[in-house]
């Protein structure tokens, strides 16, 4: 296939192989998801991640309708959902039921909105479960750009984020505003969701956040090591998952999540063996 972007971007022969591109994309998402996934686990935000990810399908439908980039649309709606959930937090709603409402409502509205798009043929499966094998060079640039942004943002705010996660009052007493740190996490989460849609789709993004972090937990003694462990699990899952999906002819996104799940079981078995 001849692409105009191919001429603008320096041609690296290795990137001509769609399998290599898929792996590099998966690695990029795994690296961004590692630090954020740890915070999602520590702060018990799993359903928050789900709601944000599900909202992105509405973003996809909107961006196709208005002809803007899917990345921008998904990012915008995911961010809006994140801010909505944050602002509703502590206003007397039960958090889990409220997230249940928002998460599924966003998914349903997104699917309905997508059905109105008659001019655009939309491959819903690709957005629900990912389409990592179709990742192009521009996608790679977007994914790695987003990953770099998240890693820099979380790295910069690291200590403050940890303080805000531990205890809000301790953070305030130390001159840290936990509300601002929550905003950093919400923004990062929206970025990860937007770049991960192509890889695992909106339905499995939360898995990519939570499973590697939880797999690393039994083996580590510090928050920093947990992030590194989650990154290693994520990268292995991406590389092995892509290979496995080719060998067994299985859908790639779910295959990546399956590999991560196997590593989660291994991590916990080794962890309990170490302690026992």
């Amino acid at each position: 296939m001849i692409t105009t972007t191919g001429m603008m971007i320096v041609t690296i022969p290795m990137l001509d192989d769609f399998v290599i591109r898929a792996m590099i994309a998966g690695i990029g998402v795994a690296l961004a998801a590692a630090p954020l996934g740890c915070f999602v686990v520590w702060r018990r935000m799993a359903y928050f991640g789900d709601a944000t990810a599900h909202a992105a399908i509405l973003g996809v439908a909107l961006s196709l309708a208005f002809g803007v980039s899917v990345f921008i649309g998904a990012l915008g709606v995911a961010l809006a959902m994140g801010l909505l959930v944050t602002s509703l937090n502590g206003r007397g709603f039960g958090m889990d039921s409220m997230l249940g409402v928002l998460s599924h409502a966003a998914l349903a509205v997104g699917l309905v909105a997508a059905s109105f798009l008659q001019d655009v043929r939309i491959d819903l499966m690709a957005y629900l479960f990912g389409d990592i094998l179709s990742v192009g060079r521009v996608d790679l640039a977007v994914i790695w750009g987003g990953a770099a942004l998240v890693i820099i943002l979380v790295g910069w705010r690291w200590s403050a984020l940890l303080m805000a996660t531990l205890n809000e009052d301790l953070a305030y007493a130390g001159g840290i505003n936990p509300k601002r740190e929550q905003l950093v996490l919400t923004l990062s989460l929206a970025v990860v969701v937007a770049v991960a849609i192509k890889i695992v789709g909106v339905l499995l993004i939360a898995a990519l956040l939570i499973i590697p972090a939880t797999a690393a937990r039994p083996l580590v003694r510090s928050p920093e090591m947990m992030v590194i462990g989650a990154a290693i699990v994520g990268v292995i899952s991406a590389v092995v998952g892509v290979q496995a999906s080719l060998v067994f002819d299985t859908p790639t996104g779910p295959s990546i999540v399956c590999v991560a799940t196997v590593l989660f079981v291994l991590g916990n078995v080794v962890g309990s063996w170490k302690l026992g």
Binding site: L166, L170, G174
Partner: protein, 254 residues
């Protein structure tokens, strides 16, 4: 002494005036005046839901008052020991790493703070594996690292047994001897309050009564809130209490 903030000079470390705080639709505090001077030990007592924690949270800046003024000395260093701190089991954190948040500190400094709080040598233990007493002391050590001018403790012995709690208060007394910092604490343990405080503030949505422990213990407001059963040890302090409390426009339960 650090520089003074606000309009003109501030005599106190923290001065709060006309404070009203809401928690949702409920007014947690109304019209509260409060101040604490350098080196003073002030204890806040009051029934559950009387706004004790709200007052502390306003002072550390975690809660915005609906109205009223909060003034702090400029560069005032506050060490804060929260009432309870739940650390999620998914968060791997050793005592040393916890003490090094938000800024890393030299090992010797951490060891000294732990020793001062009475828990030497537990640097590499995971927080989740510490006993209640050890954990409270780690929280105290963390507050001490700030070299506080004002140490704020919110019911620091919740969940400790009687000897543990007594030992913890002795530790706090020792800390104050060493550092000379002011201490503001919320406590339910009236015998401790009465023996260790310079001043006691009895809170129930507003300041019910305040003064030296003896004055508060014999105030009718205090008796109504806490009954006379706890006053056994305080009989020695009883004295005539003849001033009025006409400014309190509330009725006490009981």
């Amino acid at each position: 002494m650090p520089l003074l903030s606000g309009n003109g000079s501030l005599k106190y470390l923290v001065e709060v005036s006309g404070l009203t705080v809401k928690a949702g639709n409920h007014t947690a505090l109304s019209g509260v005046d409060f101040a604490i001077s350098a080196g003073e030990i002030v204890t806040i007592i009051g029934p559950n839901g009387s706004g004790k924690t709200s007052l502390l949270r306003v002072i550390i800046g975690a809660l915005k008052p609906v109205s009223g003024k909060v003034q702090r000395l400029e560069n005032l260093s506050i060490g804060y020991v929260p009432q309870k701190l739940h650390i999620d089991p998914t968060l791997p954190l050793t005592a040393a790493r916890f003490l090094g948040l938000p800024k890393r500190r030299p090992k010797a400094e951490l060891a000294a703070a732990l020793a001062q709080a009475g828990v030497s040598g537990i640097e590499n233990r995971p927080l989740q594996g510490l006993s209640g007493g050890q954990f409270q002391r780690v929280l105290l050590a963390r507050a001490l690292l700030e070299k506080p001018d004002l140490l704020i403790l919110d019911e620091p012995t919740t969940g400790l047994d009687q000897p543990g709690s007594a030992a913890f208060y002795q530790q706090i007394a020792a800390v104050r001897r060493d550092l000379g910092c002011a201490i503001l604490m919320v406590s339910h343990e009236l015998h401790v309050v009465m023996s260790a405080s310079d001043r006691v503030i009895c809170l129930n949505g507003h300041v019910c009564c305040h003064g030296t422990p003896e004055v508060v213990a014999s105030a009718p407001e205090y008796r109504e809130l806490f009954g006379s059963g706890t006053l056994g040890t305080l009989a020695l302090y009883r004295h005539d209490h003849d001033h009025g409390h006409d400014d309190c426009d509330h009725t006490h339960a009981g």
